[in-house]
């Protein structure tokens, strides 16, 4: 909490900047602002922070701006907003904010759930990509962020993907990857929470053993042993 208060003094906002599309290979799509339609991205165009760019399995896009050059490799989706450097304090702030947003106070007079009704599903509208697939692309985009040095925003992007695309939570290798990124940043509480959640996932013996070892290590670490 102290860290968060300190960072409030220095952090005004988490604004990102726009980037220029330097080079495109293959087909790259973009979802701008509140739009419901994915559009094509052209070389030389500017992409704003509210844009999500997506590559297919054979396309790439090179963005530049603010002294940053970033290549989004195939089969990835990335919010341009994530393409920025963050301090650890800013990351903690953002994580706290997500916690505030996602955890409502308990209702005193919690009502029972509505009784079920039956009807036809209207959700059959055609989408460029399925929900599960988009989640995987976003998680892949987050990994690329981390691999290019944007570890803090990568962790945020991964956690958002877990929340909005629950199927991504079952991607054990990438969860190991992001949990290790948290440990690199000394975010031991967050890493402990991550490994604790992973315990419930189906995984092989080696992975399960690694989770147990990490949990033991983190518990001792946090206990000051």
């Amino acid at each position: 909490m102290n860290k968060i208060i300190v960072s409030l003094l220095v952090a005004g906002s988490l604004f990102a900047q726009s980037y220029k599309v330097e080079k495109i290979q293959g087909t790259v799509k973009a979802l701008v602002g509140n739009s419901e339609q994915w559009g094509d991205v052209k070389e030389g165009a500017m992409v704003t922070p509210s844009t999500v760019i997506m590559t297919d399995k054979s396309s790439t896009i090179l963005l530049s701006g603010g002294g940053i050059k970033f290549m989004l490799k195939p089969s990835a989706a990335l919010s341009v907003n994530s393409l920025k450097h963050m301090t650890i304090d800013e990351l903690l702030l953002a994580l706290a904010m997500e916690e505030i947003l996602s955890t409502p106070a308990k209702r005193k007079d919690a009502k029972g759930m509505n009784t079920a009704i039956y009807g036809t599903n209207e959700g059959g509208n055609k989408s460029l990509v399925s929900s599960d697939a988009l989640g995987d692309l976003k998680l892949n985009g987050a990994r690329q962020l981390a691999e290019n040095g944007f570890v803090e925003t990568a962790i945020l992007a991964a956690k958002e993907a877990y929340r909005k695309y629950p199927s991504t939570q079952k991607n054990v290798p990438l969860r190991f990857f992001f949990a290790s990124q948290m440990m690199k940043l000394s975010l031991f509480d967050e890493a402990l929470a991550e490994y604790s959640q992973m315990q419930n996932l189906p995984m092989n013996d080696e992975q399960a053993k690694e989770v147990r070892e990490k949990l033991d290590f983190l518990k001792k670490k946090l206990a000051g042993m």
Binding site: I4, L8, A11, G12, S13, L14, F15, L31, G33, N34, S35, E36, Q37, W38, S50, V52, S79, L93, A96, M97, I100, L101, S102, T103, P104, A105, R107, K108, D109, A110, K111, M113, N114, A116, I117, Y118, G119, T120, N121, E122, G123, S127, L128, S130, S131, D132, L134, R163, K164, Y165, P166, S167
Partner: protein, 624 residues
Amino acid sequence: MQADGVLSMEANPTSFSSVKDLALGIVFGTEFLSPAVSNLYELSISKTFGASNFSLRYSPGYNKEFSLLKNQSVIGQDSSDVSLKTSLKYSETFAAGFSYKYSEHLSSGFTLHYFTENFSQDAIGAVFSDSSLTLIRENNTESMSFINFQFGGDYQFSDNYRVSMSGSNFIKIKNGSLSDINRSFEMKTPENIRIAFYAKPYDGLGANIVFETIRAFQISVQKEIQLFGLYSSLSCSYFGGLSSRGVQPSLSLRYGNLSADVTALLYTSQKQKTGSLNDLTSSGISSILNNKYCGNKAMLQLSYRLQTTQEKFVQFVDVSVTRAIFPMFSDLFLDAPFAIAKVVNISDKAVTVKPGSKIDKLNNEIVYSPSVVIAPKDTVSIPFYTAFPETYFSSKHELSFVTFSLITENADADDNLQKPLLINSSNAWDGEVGHLHYFVKKDFDYSSTAAKRILSKYKNTLDTTSSALLLFQQAKLLFNEIIPEMLYVADPVASNDRVQFPHETIDVKGGDCDDFSVCLASFYESIGIETAFVDYRGNDQSRHVNLLFNTGLHPSEAQLITRNDKKYFIRKDTAGEEKVWIPIETTERSNFTSAWEKGVEIFTNEALDNLGLVKGTVQIIEIY
């Protein structure tokens, strides 16, 4: 605090002002002369009526008699010598007093003392017959009565410090006259001013100092003790002046309303048991009980104080009304006090106080707050909570008053205090978005009926909507039926803390952001759609409120309503399951989709990008 000693018995006319109701007293005394003389000294009664106290004393034992033999005798008929003598008798038979207590600190009063003096002198008389002269003893008796007026005042700085001043013998009303020969025997009553200081600087330890202008003084110390489990005190005085000096030890025992005081009066100065007539006439006596011819005394005083009026244990110092009354927020006043009182325990014991309040026009009976125990002489802050019926409704502000009361073991309140109070109108709002839910819930019945009536028009649409999308679809239909009809009208500046009930917003087809948000939330909640207010606070004190609502969709189902994951947020629902929530800007009245997109834009910008959620400038407030 110790009363005056024998030197200045009843010297302070206000000494009865501490009697709270009725006091009865009886004093027996023994004077150790040869032989010892025992007597009923006095019977007294004192009664208080409000701030006034009346006292009456009958004192048959307040008398002093002198017999003086003359150097003359006559031969009686039986040939025996009959000595001639002079008898002087002084007595104070009655006293009556009145005192008035102006405040807890100040009182004054006066006392009238009724004295009688009887002087009888034997003389030789001659009886002439035809053949002889016979000398006989004649007795000439004269008496006179007078009333001595005594006045005084008393100021109590605190429970432990007091000063009193009184004057006596300045006014004397005589009844009758004396011959020249008896005038020399009159009581000497010099004008006297008496000043006394009483102090109790340490717990259980007190001291008195008394000065009188007739060159008399008294110094006393008193120690409170526990004796036989009773409240007791031991005291000892040294007094001096006029014609005598001495010590006066005393022991007091108190049991309930009954008290007993045993006092000894031991003279250290030489006492005269005999003396000449010239000696008596030259110095005289100025006090019946205390003069140079008195012997040592022992006195037993029994007192009974009857308490037919209740004793006050606690009282208000002040009460501050800390919160305005908003009739709609009845729950809030159960958890947070609307007034804080400073209350002092004026008694010598710990007292349990039950605070009560009754707001005129809002409460039909006294509302009691949790009891508080106050230590003796301690002052504490006591919170007052209240409750009022949800059925109360007033469209305008009302000026009322609240009666605060302090209940102890007494049947009636120890103290009451009234304060004016403003009861806001039922539409009044304190500006806290967290309190808007009261307006949401108030109209649930209306909102539920109206929502169902609207949705029934879309029966076919809703019947064919998938169960997953039902809440979202209902929310969309209700928005499009209600909000586009509305006219945005800001509150008048003078009443910017006013919120309409949903039925009022529907009736007038207009309102501002809080009215629209309350109305839509009430409709949504009444049919089971969870909502939350989003409170945006600008740097310029401007406020804005809109809504988040729970679509009921699992995150994996979000694509049923949007392909853009920036347009929703994942929040837990009542059951703790993660669901898709979307923000709605209720003042964007064109249609649901526009309101949704505007809501996303505002929320993303203010709550997330500008860190409003962690800075506290944006708050999400659940409605329940």
